[in-house]
């Protein structure tokens, strides 16, 4: 029977298992990420109309957007919040996949997901620099120095990021180009591959059932996705009411603030580096990356996908849980418990 069809319907399977629509199955994290991405795209294109990547002018432009344009502040806040919510939701999505074993038999898609996480971090990082204020400038200075610790590729990576030896006008141009063109291009490719693989691998991973109950995607899957998307949007809009995208004073290359911190998602590495440059900055992140990359292959348990925390996947779950907790701890310490000269100090 030829029903009415369109591109949107074409992307989705005609029937979907009822179980996967439960919030406890996926918690809608994938849709949350996708919504954030769309918000970033729409707000980003708007901001693009008014921004200029030039050292002093960039700051002026941000002021212009935020104070002179009507709704400029709203758009910028949404952009900032969506970027951070995307990163957090992405990590939670990763955690859900691991704890539920949904990676089993889907290693290629798993790697696509990891690459997506990498470009999320990179997008956040390049966007952070664009206002060219004190926080941005020194965060990039510290962040690029952290990158330089990597043996071999470190210095080349640093000079690639900075467009030279030091943070300067080249860095701004480069960050801008990466942020608005190169990375969105990669986003497009990777998202398409990621979503396509979900279908190729058999749809959303859920527990094996003898007689799976299926419901038609139209309307149920679409309504679930729309609901998740709108709830994400509500979250962003409510946060935009209270939280303003930060803007400190103009960048001053001669006068660093004390302490100078990397953006929150890298401040955990900065904290680890303060103990040991090689171990904290290179070895541990590398090992974490290695583990994440190969986790699905390390998991020898038989097919137990779709169930939370099964005994067979205990080792992988444990290691990942420890990694997650320790990194969160590092971030909390680095962000809130370190003051002047990186001295440990409670904020009260």
């Amino acid at each position: 029977m030829k029903g009415k069809t369109n591109f949107f319907k074409h992307l989705h399977p005609p029937l979907v298992r009822r179980r996967t629509l439960q919030p406890s199955a996926t918690m809608g994290l994938g849709i949350i990420c996708l919504t954030c991405l769309m918000v970033l795209g729409a707000t980003g294109l708007t901001l693009l109309l008014y921004y200029l990547p030039q050292q002093d002018t960039a700051y002026d432009r941000i002021l212009h957007i935020v104070t002179t344009l009507r709704y400029g502040r709203l758009i910028r806040n949404l952009h900032f919040l969506a970027a951070n919510v995307l990163l957090i939701a992405g990590i939670l999505h990763l955690a859900r996949i691991i704890f539920m074993g949904s990676y089993q038999g889907r290693w290629l898609n798993w790697t696509y997901g990891l690459f997506l996480l990498m470009i999320t971090l990179f997008s956040n990082y390049t966007g952070y620099l664009l206002p060219w204020d004190q926080t941005a400038y020194w965060a990039i200075k510290v962040g690029s120095n952290l990158a330089a610790y990597f043996p071999g590729v470190g210095p080349s990576l640093k000079s690639f990021l900075l467009g030279g030896e030091d943070v300067g006008p080249e860095t701004l141009i480069r960050s801008f180009a990466l942020h608005v063109a190169v990375l969105p291009f990669l986003w497009g490719i990777l998202i398409s591959l990621h979503l396509w693989r979900i279908r190729k691998d058999g749809g959303l991973a859920a527990q094996e059932e003898d007689k799976p109950e299926r419901v038609p995607s139209s309307p149920w899957l679409f309504r679930a996705e729309l609901a998740a998307g709108l709830l994400t949007l509500s979250l962003l809009l409510s946060l935009a009411f209270f939280i303003d995208a930060p803007l400190s004073i103009r960048a001053d290359p001669l006068h660093p603030p004390n302490p100078a911190k990397a953006p929150w998602y890298f401040v955990g590495i900065q904290e680890m580096v303060s103990y040991s440059a090689m171990f904290g900055g290179v070895v541990i992140p590398f090992l974490i990356g290695l583990f994440l990359f190969f986790a699905p292959l390390l998991d020898r348990s038989k097919q137990s996908t779709g169930r939370w925390f099964t005994k067979e996947r205990f080792m992988v779950n444990l290691i990942f849980g420890l990694i997650l907790l320790s990194q969160v701890f590092m971030i909390v310490v680095g962000q809130w418990l370190r003051s002047k000269n990186w001295i440990f100090k409670f904020p009260w």
Binding site: T67, L74, V215, L230, S234, F241
Partner: protein
């Protein structure tokens, strides 16, 4: 067709989500609209959608401003009972707003249209009223200028108060001891500059800048001058600047007048900005009035060349004089006019005239110039335990011959034995509060029984037990040094340790030093370790047991 198995709860969820999103969206939209109307006051004729957008060209740099949206024709806006009141911008001819715009003089953020942000933060904080003088000398040449009298005062103070001995400002030939202030106006706001002068140790606790005794007006005028030292130049290119400085340097060279003599020399060379000489007092450094009775020519010459060699850690910058000036200075400081003779004066007056400046009227070692000295003056008040273990002869010697490596000069020639003894009696009576003869049992540290530790082991012990206070390099600046008053001793202080014997160093480690943070290590370290550390101190200070010291006075 629906069946009972359909997840109909999704319908409810979706409706709730749509409703919620709509509400929040409208809330945000309403707020954005309201902000635009209310917070951005847009012109005297009511609500106008047009934003005043002008671009002025300041020295080749285009500056775009929205200030005139809320301040039409530069008028000052105040609110009385909800409605705006305008006051015309004062006449600033020959300057004009069309040429200069607003932010060139007033600073602030031109591209913003919200009150708090457009009035700037930090270095860009808007200047108004009297503070505007801080902008004048960004463009104008450094000479007296009508309307910028205070700022011109500031320029004079910068030189006469010895600021340029340590700080360099481009074009005003300054020193290099302190941070270069050529661009300080681009980095600090007016109030921040004032605080930096009034309270130097506020931002960086281990700053070596002394607190000069300046009136608030003097500080303000200095701040006006320094705020005008900025990176960007609106009216001259870097090439023009360079040529101007070269011309200025040549003019200064040509104007070499005959050197002043006597006290004028001290004033001209800025010594009096810190030191005391007869009646004039800078209140930052020691009293030089009686130098003739304390130091010989060789010492003074060496001191001027490198103060840190005679008193390690001294914050006095080095002084370079030509032959004529040096001769004049030495003859001035070396003049023994009998008026300074203190034989027969009462000990109380002696203390007030000579000791109080460092040791304080209270005798607690926190005198007026104490923050600027490299070594803390000994505390007498509540320090009985220390003086119980110090031989009387040592006290007499300290006053008579001074303590090399510190700011304590020899008073022997100036006072004489009798006066010194009566002074010591006074100190015991009023401050230490014990009998001068009340001495405790001081046991010598026994010699080591086994061989001393190897160099690497000593290093490890030093790092573990000593470096937190005395620093890895032994210069008294370890990570914990700021916790202790008096500060940990600088172990590299050669003149200081040259006069010691090993027993005294060992005693300090073994029994500790009362009245300071140096605790006793006899229970924590073996005798051999202690004597090895004594050797380490000798290495650090480059001295030897019983000699190698330079006699003073």
């Amino acid at each position: 067709m629906t069946s009972s198995k359909d997840p109909t709860w999704l319908n409810i969820l979706l409706l709730a989500a749509i409703f919620l999103t709509l509400c929040l969206l409208l809330l945000n939209v309403y707020r954005g609209w309201k902000e635009d109307r209310m917070l951005h006051y847009s012109g005297p004729s009511g609500h106008s959608e047009i934003i005043a957008d002008i671009t002025v060209n300041l020295g080749g740099l285009p500056r775009r401003e929205h200030c005139l949206t809320c301040h039409p024709q530069g008028k000052r806006v105040t609110y009385s009972g909800g409605s705006p009141v305008f006051r015309n911008h004062p006449n600033i001819a020959p300057h004009s707003i069309d040429d200069l715009g607003c932010t060139g003089c007033h600073l602030g953020e031109g591209m913003a249209r919200e009150l708090k942000i457009s009035h700037g933060r930090g270095a860009r904080k808007v200047l108004s009223g009297e503070d505007l003088q801080a902008s004048c000398f960004r463009c104008h040449e450094l000479k007296p200028l009508q309307g910028a009298e205070k700022a011109w005062e500031g320029i004079r103070h910068f030189s006469s108060n010895a600021c340029n001995t340590c700080h360099n400002v481009e074009g005003l030939a300054g020193g290099v001891y302190g941070p270069d202030l050529s661009d300080v106006g681009s980095f600090l706001g007016l109030r921040q500059i004032q605080t930096a002068i009034e309270d130097p140790k506020a931002d960086l606790e281990n700053s070596i800048m002394p607190k000069f005794s300046l009136s608030p007006e003097q500080v303000k005028s200095l701040a006006f001058f320094l705020k005008s030292r900025t990176k960007e130049s609106f009216h001259e290119t870097p090439m023009m600047k360079k040529v101007k400085i070269q011309k200025q340097a040549r003019v200064e060279e040509d104007a070499k007048k005959t050197p002043a003599s006597g006290q004028d020399l001290l004033r001209e060379k800025k010594c009096l900005a810190c030191h005391k000489f007869k009646e004039e007092d800078g209140k930052v450094g020691p009293d030089l009035t009686f130098t003739a009775y304390m130091r010989d020519e060789g010492y003074i010459k060496n001191f001027l060349y490198s103060p840190g060699r005679e008193i390690p850690g001294a914050i006095m910058p080095w002084v370079r004089l030509n032959a004529q000036e040096e001769k004049a200075l030495l003859s001035l400081l070396g003049k023994k006019d009998g008026t300074g003779h203190f034989h027969g004066k009462r000990p109380k007056h002696l203390y007030m005239a000579l000791c109080q400046r460092c040791h304080a009227a209270q005798g607690d070692g926190l005198g007026t110039i104490q923050p600027n000295l490299a070594n803390f003056p000994r505390a007498f008040w509540k320090n009985a335990e220390f003086f119980r273990m110090v031989a009387d002869e040592r006290m007499v010697k300290s006053i008579e011959r001074g303590v090399p490596g510190t700011s304590m000069p020899p008073y022997g020639e100036l006072l004489g034995r009798e006066a010194i003894s009566s002074l010591i009696d006074l100190i015991f009576r009023e401050f230490i509060k014990i009998k001068r003869t009340d001495k405790g049992e001081v046991q010598n540290v026994p010699p080591p029984k086994k061989i001393l530790l190897a160099k690497e082991q000593t290093e490890m012990v030093f790092k573990k037990h000593c470096s937190d206070c005395h620093g890895v390099a032994g210069n008294g600046r370890g990570p914990e040094y700021h916790k202790y008053v008096p500060r940990p001793r600088d172990l590299t202080n050669q003149p200081y340790f040259a006069g010691f014997d090993d027993q005294r160093i060992a005693q300090a480690i073994y029994s500790g030093v009362p009245g300071t943070g140096m605790s006793s290590f006899s229970s924590k370290l073996s005798l051999e370790t202690i004597w090895s550390l004594v050797k380490k101190v000798r290495d650090l200070s480059r001295t030897r047991q019983g000699g190698g010291g330079k006699a003073n006075g």
